[in-house]
Symmetry: C2
Subunit: 84 residues, 2 copies
């Protein structure tokens, strides 16, 4: 079994209005030291072992469903768990 952590974030060149809203909220809560916020998604997947290579499966899943590769970048970490 694998635990996969996927991080998806808007590309640098893409405007992030949600992040701007959070920056403004923080500034008005008097956290003026916060100059920028970018908001993305964080996902934890549990994947059973199969005959396919895990990296390949995760890459496909990210491309097809979890991220929009036109405007988003993603990265992931794979952890193998031993079930006892």
């Amino acid at each position: 079994m694998y635990k996969v952590k996927v991080y998806v974030i808007l590309r640098e060149s893409v405007l992030d209005p949600q992040g701007q809203a959070v920056t403004h909220s923080l500034n008005s809560l008097n956290y003026r030291e916060v100059t920028d916020v970018r908001i993305g998604k964080y996902m934890e997947l549990t994947i059973e072992k199969s005959e396919r290579e895990i990296n390949e499966v995760v890459d496909e899943i990210c491309h097809k469903l979890l991220a929009n590769p036109v405007i988003e970048d993603y990265r992931y970490e794979i952890e193998e768990c031993v079930v006892q």
Copy 2:
């Protein structure tokens, strides 16, 4: 200047309907090896140095605005950047 990465995820005991929907979508796309998906938020903050301790500032921000401590857990990583 600090780059802070914040990860927010629903507590284990809280149902995650969005994650269930993604699990079903993946299963119907023939990724039957995916047994569970939990969806959270990933945020990158840029914070200037101030007289306050950075850990304290980030903890406060997470508690007040970025996470709902009743149903969500958060963790963060702080990276110090040198501006040249």
